[in-house]
Symmetry: C2
Subunit: 167 residues, 2 copies
Amino acid sequence: MSLIRDIPDFPSPGIMFKDITPLLADQQAFATAIDHVAERFVGSNVTHVVGIEARGFIVAAPVAYRLGAGFVPLRKKGKLPSEVRGIDYTLEYGAERLEVHIDAVSSGDRVVIVDDVLATGGTARAACDVIRELGAEVLGVGVIIELEFLSGRRALGDVDVFSLLKY
Amino acid sequence: MSLIRDIPDFPSPGIMFKDITPLLADQQAFATAIDHVAERFVGSNVTHVVGIEARGFIVAAPVAYRLGAGFVPLRKKGKLPSEVRGIDYTLEYGAERLEVHIDAVSSGDRVVIVDDVLATGGTARAACDVIRELGAEVLGVGVIIELEFLSGRRALGDVDVFSLLKY
């Protein structure tokens, strides 16, 4: 079985979804993928890895563990229980909002943002913006899959972007 | 700041929510928590760690990485893109449904289920049931927090349960 599975018309008609669950379930591939994303940021004194709900958590949390960093969840509206800073943005499927606890990171913190897929870059860009609003530095963005035809890297400006696989 | 934060009336009135985000964000505490949950299952030849959406992913994925196991997401209805096996169950807040890809695990696989919190045990019990329906063996359940007054351990029968912190 392929480690990356193409699913046509998910979550909406016309979208070819890249399903990474076979890669995650494969002992060797999962470990290798996490190691590769983490290794890009070894030696950068990363204090926190930010994961984007929900699939991003699956990649970001082990990358944080591997780097000896803390983990910070960036969640959809209303999911975090304490005081949040929110950011509204748009992506292919419509308007979205992400929230982070206001005390999650602060000035002096060195943050890497990790998600499963980089598509148009709208989500990753919003993540960078809200983390900077809290005073922390964004060292880079790491993803398993980059959909190059959607030019997400360009939307991120001069942020360092690492992707394991490009389509 | 305390590593576990009490949030009254979240997500509904009368519920005292245990917020583990300060623990996750603390470099030392996050690593130690993952190590403790994983170490309970070292030497058990775990093939897959199953994480329950969404907070469970944050604990389960690094535990899978630490054990050299694959990661399998158990998600809410309609979130997984390929063919699923679903299970309906009830918990404090109402009826719920979890789904897993039917090819995620199979006979001969040795599975640990990991979540952030064990409350009444309804979710963990559903997770055990659906994984067994796919033919895999459930070796145990690991959580960061066990709310002992809700007797979740009892709902799980003779499944081995490891919790890092008890309230």
